[in-house]
């Protein structure tokens, strides 16, 4: 299976898997919506877990598979959210033609979208400085993994993830502040 191929280091398997993860997340998202129309707290993590169960038969997959899956899925989620944020931000808001006023609501969606795009760019800069820390952030923030899960998935100690996460956050916040000023 694809997952097994990927965990044995086959880069082309990863490339094949990304669109699958992407499509699966979208599909789950649509279904989640129709099943739980009143849930306003659908989180990326829940999606990734569900996608994992779907794509990799969890009972057959090795622990390694699971960890690798989360790494790939976190990357996919980052890509999905950043793309979505960009499409949101590109829609012209208000302006001369506004027939009905929507101006007085500063939508949380737009705030988050702007933040995600800024974070994404700062994360690319961090990647150049310290790739491991950018992976930690990707898994923690975009993948929604806990400190422990991240440590497992990366094969490093919990203490290391803790330290990486803290420094990475400070670094990213500083970077984002510098870019916005």
């Amino acid at each position: 299976m694809l997952l097994a191929a990927w965990s044995s280091g086959d880069q082309s398997a990863l490339n094949k898997m990304m669109p699958l993860v992407y499509a699966e997340l979208h599909r789950i998202a649509r279904r989640a919506w129709s099943q739980h129309p009143h849930s306003n707290t659908l989180q990326p993590t829940a999606l990734i877990n569900e996608a994992y169960l779907k794509l990799a038969n969890a009972e057959n997959a090795s622990f390694q598979d699971r960890c690798h899956f989360f790494a790939v899925a976190s990357k996919a989620m980052r890509q999905i959210l950043v793309n979505h944020a960009k499409s949101r931000l590109s829609v012209k808001r208000g302006g001369e033609m506004a027939n009905v006023s929507l101006d007085d609501v500063q939508p949380a969606v737009h705030q988050e979208a702007a933040q995600i795009v800024a974070l994404h760019e700062a994360l690319e800069a961090l990647q150049a400085v310290d790739p491991r820390k950018s992976t930690v952030v990707e898994m923690r923030y975009f993948g929604g993994l806990s400190i422990e899960e991240t440590a497992e998935a990366m094969g490093v100690s919990v203490a290391t993830v803790n330290r990486d996460w803290r420094l990475a956050r400070s670094w990213l916040i500083r970077e984002m502040n510098r870019r916005s000023s």
Partner: protein
């Protein structure tokens, strides 16, 4: 690919410093090169406001899950309307140009599904649909229909080919005769709403449009209330983001009694209209300020300069009328009906 040694040094000092009390960090960093110290200190500073990555982007995720990033596609149907293009987008929903079955243009306002879970958003949406459809006046936007569709809640309303007064005032000074005409139309609309027992409660240039043929239209009855007096609206403003979002923009038209948390009455609408009329005729806002606090203070206690002191050609009775509309005491303000009458007379003799 290992990080450069300097980065490892930064990392080591950063974690070492975090374990020390703030006062001892300086001692630790005193012994290193200025560049390294600056690097570590700026990271420690960022650490203290690290709330940024604390919460996942749930709104964005929910928006994504909604399945239609960027809104409805052209050609898509919502009830009996066919979507043409997205006009504007905001937290309360989206507005599209659409066509009805006869091919007439309509403005289709849609409250996206993931916002339906927000009771206040629904409340506001339904209020708008109800209030505007209860009113039939040439200067109030006409609501054709409202209801539910798979895309979300929708309101189909009159398409207004024109611009908001925010845009008009931004484009330059308005002629006095025109200001009197437009102000009079807005006052007539407000008077009709008040006669029907409906308060607008959000009168401001963003909510008043001028159609290309010169007809003024009042929009957005999303905060409207029935039956005159209602309680203070701290919750509805906070939840809709009015206060936190564009505080100063909305604040500029808020009467002092509302700022004090008192009950909104028809006189509150008159005050907001007065602030708009002042801006329209004088070319500057009566309560302009650098910060929200300045605006707050101006509304509460700064004397309003007569328009005649800023611009010549404004009839005295109009100047007096607008100053009365801005009276700090609701009881000192004219009714919307009186405003429209005075403006009509002034216009006729201008």
């Amino acid at each position: 690919m290992n990080p450069p040694p300097a980065w490892e040094e930064v990392e080591r000092l950063y974690h070492q410093a975090l374990e020390l009390p703030v006062c001892e960090r300086k001692v630790l960093l005193a012994g290193v090169s200025p560049a390294l110290r600056e690097e570590v200190e700026s990271l420690l500073e960022a650490d203290s406001n690290a709330g940024l990555l604390a919460a996942p982007p749930t709104h964005l995720a929910a928006d994504l899950l909604d399945g239609q990033p960027g809104g409805l596609a052209a050609g898509q149907r919502v009830a009996n309307y066919q979507v043409e293009s997205l006009i504007s987008i905001g937290g309360m929903g989206e507005v599209y140009l659409a066509r009805d079955a006869q091919g007439r243009p309509v403005a289709l306002k849609i409250l996206r599904r993931h916002l339906i879970v927000n009771a206040q958003a629904v409340d506001r949406f339904e209020t708008e649909a109800r209030a505007a459809s209860a009113l039939c006046h040439p200067n109030i936007v006409t609501v054709y229909e409202s209801g539910k569709s798979p895309a979300g809640l929708f309101i189909a309303m009159e398409w207004i080919d024109g611009s908001t007064f925010r845009a008009i005032m931004a484009a330059g000074q308005v002629e006095i005769a025109q200001a009197l005409d437009w102000g009079g139309q807005a006052a007539q609309a407000l008077s009709a709403a008040h006669t029907a027992g409906i308060l607008h409660r959000d009168m401001k240039p963003e909510n008043i449009m001028l159609r290309k043929d010169g007809v003024v239209k009042i929009l957005d009855f999303g905060l409207a209330r029935y039956g005159g007096a209602v309680g203070p609206e701290a919750n509805s403003m906070g939840a809709s983001g009015t206060i936190t979002g564009t505080l100063s923009g909305t604040l500029l038209y808020m009467p002092p009694e509302i700022l004090r948390g008192e009950t909104a009455t028809s006189a509150s609408d008159v005050f907001s209209l007065g602030a708009f009329l002042y801006e329209l005729t004088a070319g500057q806002h009566p309560f302009a300020g650098e910060t929200p606090l300045d605006v707050f203070e101006a509304i509460e206690c700064r004397p309003v300069a007569p328009i005649g002191s800023l611009r010549t050609g404004v009839p005295q009775e109009v100047d007096r009328l607008i100053l009365r509309m801005l009276d700090r005491h609701p009881s000192g303000r004219p009714s919307a009906q009186e405003v429209s009458e005075v403006l009509a007379v002034a216009q006729a003799s201008a």
